[in-house]
């Protein structure tokens, strides 16, 4: 970096704009997690089911989500669907891409967690007069979420970092989008990118810390 003199004042002046971008980043990450978790629960149940018609599409989803790059998934949501006349805005395409990815990974997390819960738990519930779905909802799911909680939070961190891929589909309001725009206007690349990196780091650290505190509160016996 011998050729470059850092000018931090200019970058720090843009900090409020970048923090606004960080809020959008968090919004997308949280929404994509809510959607991802909801879909993943259904996918996990479908993958454990005996019916091939339920298993096959769920398996296809998981295979695609876990074995193709997140960048590709987001790009396809915007430009891929666009070529079929389905137009998703950059925001929605980014959200859809990350939610798709989240659902695939979380499905496997949940499925592993489900396997860890003995069948006898359902039978115990049934013997108390619960219906099978009710036993699943009240007995199995709470235990499943307990096991899956920290891996799910890991996925949350991954979702926050994946939002940075939105620039490839024209996303301009999240942290990376704002940073790229500031960079292109002034060429102070390294200051802006360093600042963005610090913000991403602090956000993900804060999320993990919050997750640990929450786990300690929720799951102690």
């Amino acid at each position: 970096m011998g050729n470059y003199t850092f000018q931090w004042r200019q970058a720090l002046r843009a900090l409020p704009d970048m923090l606004d971008g960080a809020l959008v980043t968090m919004q997308i990450a949280i929404l994509s997690m809510l959607i991802g978790i909801t879909i993943a629960v259904f996918l996990a149940v479908a993958r454990n089911s005996k019916s091939r018609w339920l298993r096959a599409p769920a398996t296809a989803w998981v295979e695609l989500a876990r074995n193709t790059p997140a960048l590709f998934q987001i790009y396809m949501a915007h430009f891929g669907l666009g070529s079929f006349g389905i137009y998703l805005s950059p925001y929605v395409a980014l959200l859809a891409g990350i939610a798709f990815n989240n659902a695939g990974y979380l499905c496997e997390t949940f499925r592993g967690s489900l396997r860890a819960i003995p069948d006898t738990q359902i039978r115990a519930g049934r013997s108390l007069g619960m219906s099978a779905p009710k036993a699943f909802r009240l007995i199995v799911m709470p235990q499943m979420f307990r096991i899956a909680f920290l891996p799910t939070m890991n996925q949350m961190v991954w979702a926050i970092l994946m939002t940075s891929l939105g620039v490839t589909v024209g996303m301009s309001t999240d942290l990376t989008g704002v940073t790229q725009d500031l960079n292109a206007r002034s060429f102070r690349t390294f200051e802006f990118f360093a600042l963005a990196a610090v913000i991403y780091y602090l956000i993900t650290k804060a999320v993990m810390l919050a997750a640990r505190l929450l786990a300690w509160r929720l799951f102690r016996y």
């Binding site: 050729n3 200019q10 430009f79 666009g82 137009y87």
Partner: protein, 269 residues
């Protein structure tokens, strides 16, 4: 013996000292290679031919510059947002990359005098009903992030505030893809690029819908801000290109017609 040691040290220092002062211009001449950052999805300034070789005005300009320096030219494909990182990291020596000489950027990069001037037009699809710059106010439009025309269009959409929106993309190719798919209704691009894309026929149904009322977009070569030796050389090179008629010749080859004036009336530089 001691005298020999001192004399030897002094001689070594004398040989080493000028080398330590060599600037970028010396480095280029010594290395025998000029590495130019060129944007290759920005025809006719830079693109690739059927055999994937770099072609275009900027490519030829780099070749001319290398020939003047007496070295080999190396074209390094560089997307718009990566031009400064490419310079600073030492991956390239010069940016021949249609870089608009904004004052904001000049705080970071060293600009030469203009080597090209663009005017901008509205590029749209035939089915959008857009017939001029003002009718963009209610549409979703897009451009390459941070470019001269992108910043101007974004600012106008915000100023108009009539329901239109602006989307910045990372490359010119993505903008054309988004436009042809219908993700965006129009873009503002340099007239040279617009003519080239409409004539190219790769994207069907694109049409030019009038001029964008911006000031001419003067673009300079870029180098590291502190490399005065190199920047001086580049200024003189640009002057010589115009003086010898080579600028007009290249313009005719890649764009057609009379090359635009590179000077601004009533002011230096």
């Amino acid at each position: 013996m001691k005298f020999g040691y001192i004399a030897g040290t002094a001689l070594a220092a004398a040989i080493a000292a000028p080398a330590a002062q060599a600037d970028k211009l010396d480095d280029i001449v010594a290395s025998g290679t000029l590495r130019c950052a060129v944007v290759l999805d920005f025809p006719p300034m830079g693109s690739r031919d059927a055999d994937n070789n770099p072609i275009g005005f900027d490519v030829d300009y780099c070749n001319d510059l290398a020939a003047a320096l007496g070295v080999e030219a190396e074209i390094v494909e560089t997307p718009f947002p990566d031009r400064i990182p490419a310079l600073v990291s030492g991956r390239v020596d010069v940016g021949v990359a249609s870089t608009s000489d904004t004052l904001e950027r000049a705080k970071t990069a060293g600009f030469t005098v203009p080597y090209f001037a663009f005017t901008n037009v509205v590029l749209t699809r035939e089915d959008t009903g857009i017939d001029g710059y003002d009718s963009l106010a209610t549409h979703t439009v897009g451009s390459v992030a941070g470019t001269y025309e992108g910043i101007a269009l974004d600012d106008d959409i915000t100023k108009w505030d009539q329901g239109g929106s602006f989307r910045p993309y990372q490359s010119q190719a993505d903008v054309f893809l988004a436009l042809s798919q219908g993700q965006i209704d129009a873009t503002v691009v340099t007239s040279t690029v617009a003519s080239s894309i409409v004539a190219g026929g790769k994207y069907e149904g694109l049409t030019i819908a009038g001029d964008a009322p911006y000031l001419p977009d003067y673009v300079g070569l870029i180098a590291l801000r502190q490399e005065y030796g190199l920047l001086n050389y580049l200024d003189l090179f640009i002057n010589q290109q115009v003086r010898t008629g080579r600028y007009q010749e290249l313009y005719e080859e890649w764009v057609g017609g009379d090359a635009p004036d590179l000077t601004v009336d009533k002011v230096y530089r």
